[in-house]
Amino acid sequence: MRPDRHSSTASLGRRLYRHRYLYVMLIPAFIWALLFAYAPMAGLYMAFVDFQPTLGNFWSSFFGSEFVGFEWFSYFFNGSDFKMIMRNTLVSSVLTLLLGFIVPILLALALNEVRSQAFKRIVQTASYMPYFISWVIAANIFVALLASEGAVNELLQLVGLTKESIPFLQEGKYFWGIVSGANTWKEMGYNSIIYLAAISSINPDLYEAAKVDGAGRIRQMTSVTLPLLRPTIVILLILSVGNLMNTGFDQYYLLGNSLNREYSDVLDTYSFRYGLQNSMFSYAAAVGLFKSAVAFLMVLAVNSIARRMNSNSLF
């Protein structure tokens, strides 16, 4: 038993005093959490008032503003934008989920089959790279590649697939595909790591046994690797369903423009534009709160499902 055990019977004051330096070490993080995590949460109250920034500084105008209850929320739900924003948010994140979920699994399976270690290393190194650059750089790259004289259009014309350049970012209908492709591009290497780790923990004897039974490499993959990966795949799938509302802000804001807005505007960018560019602070905060609350509930639900499955199927 730990020696601390004895101190748990000591008085609270003595226990606090004994570890006073630990509490001192906590001070910077504690202040950070209060100011930059909890104060904005308290600030969400502005979604329930008609916030007038002209009434003085933030907190006094905050409490001086008229209370309007759920008016901003019903304004949002009944407005014409709601359907469009929700459609963009959900469709693009479902597409991202499908593509961004399957590709890393295939990548990990393929990397595991490669005999040449040098080739494997080169592919892995390249595939992790996009994860480390900012969305600003990624967006600049995609805008260049997808421009009318960009590499993608030139390549399509070179092989004769199209005669004229496709206006990828100027026409909204391509946006969901582009953004889910970009999401997958950026994260596939990183997301394949966990599958590679799970594969490397599979007992090699199982493959030996399969070989003795006459299984080829493909059969080994379908009968040994995939069934043993299944629990990992299921858990990660459930967890990513919980994140459907969290599309991310950067890629939509940076790849979106006024021409594709009807397809590129999601909850985060919509709230940003109304709040910081149109100064409809309370409305924007209500949209943001709606997103945070739904996302939070989904993550909670999904975590508890995953935990239950985890204890049943993994061990």
Partner: protein, 296 residues
């Protein structure tokens, strides 16, 4: 050929084809930007598929590196990284150490208090209001304080600390060392691997950060490289003919640079440090990512 060998051959073709495609898709975009940045700007306007510069030219680099706005942006970015990384790593290490002490009075509450911030946030607008009320608008501290703690990295460090053998602390406790001395002299030295990992994460975070500079600052000397790049991208996206990149190019009329070649060059300049640092440190990244992946 037997059926098995044909299957094996198609399997291998598929395998190497798929992985070759992954390599091309992830590597080629970077290569393309690099080529466009070292190709003559006017020549690039002709379009065409380029795997190699048609007319090699470093003029756009000369333009970019002689532009005061870009140089200021590089300086600001380096400064926030150099100051922000040690601050963040130190505060996260302290927090992780305290939260790893599960027998500490209030430990359950404190862990919940910090973990909760990972799942729920006030969102963009209230955060902006709080930043404004704290007078952090147009203040260099806005680069350091809001991002001081990252709970995800903290969990990495906490997990690492929880797995350390308890004996190493106990002998120091018997010697009468206080908690700060134990932390500095006993715990920190053995945590070097995980601290190296989050140092790299923090450095990448600071180098890549754009939102804070873009939204919370107006002064030109507080614009980071990524924020300048967003401005260039926005102007390009809205088809602004006198975009910033174009203006930069115009200042240099004698040499053939264009708005687009400038945009590619600034993108390259912002990417290069990460590309250079990346292969050497991949080991640390992988370790950290694996820790994080297993944890989540």
């Amino acid at each position: 050929m037997t059926r098995d060998r044909i299957l094996n051959l198609t399997g291998n073709t598929l395998l190497y084809g798929l992985l070759g495609l992954v390599f091309l898709v992830t590597f080629f975009p970077f290569w393309q930007i690099f080529i466009l940045s070292i190709n003559d700007g006017t020549d690039s306007l002709r379009g065409g598929f380029m795997l190699w510069p048609r007319e090699f030219s470093l003029d756009s680099y000369a333009t970019v590196f002689s532009n005061p706005e870009i140089l200021t942006a590089i300086r600001t970015t380096v400064l926030r990284t150099v100051l922000g990384v040690p601050l963040t790593v130190a505060c996260i290490a302290m927090l992780a150490y305290v939260l790893s002490k599960r027998t500490l009075a209030g430990s359950r509450f404190l862990n919940l208090f910090f973990i909760f911030t990972m799942y729920f946030s006030g969102g963009l607008i209230p955060t902006y209001m709080v930043i404004k009320s704290l007078h952090l608008i147009d203040n260099f501290l806005v680069f350091l304080l809001p991002g001081l703690i990252n709970i995800f990295w903290m969990i990495l460090v906490r997990t690492f600390m929880e797995q350390l053998p308890k004996e190493i602390e106990e002998s120091a406790e018997i010697d009468g060392a206080n908690d700060i001395r134990i932390f500095v002299q006993v715990i920190l030295p053995v945590c070097v691997p995980v601290l190296a990992t989050i140092t790299l994460f923090a450095a990448i975070f600071h180098w890549n950060a754009w939102y804070d500079s873009y939204i919370y600052t107006y002064k030109p000397d507080l614009k980071t490289l990524q924020a300048v790049l967003v401005k260039i991208l926005n102007q390009y996206q809205t088809g602004d003919m006198l975009s910033q990149a174009q203006q930069l190019a115009n200042e240099n009329k004698r040499i053939p640079v264009t708005g687009e070649s400038i945009r590619m060059t600034v993108t390259m300049v912002a990417t290069l440090p990460i590309i250079l640092v990346y292969p050497f440190l991949q080991k640390f990244f992988l370790k950290g990512m694996l820790l994080g992946a297993v944890k989540s």
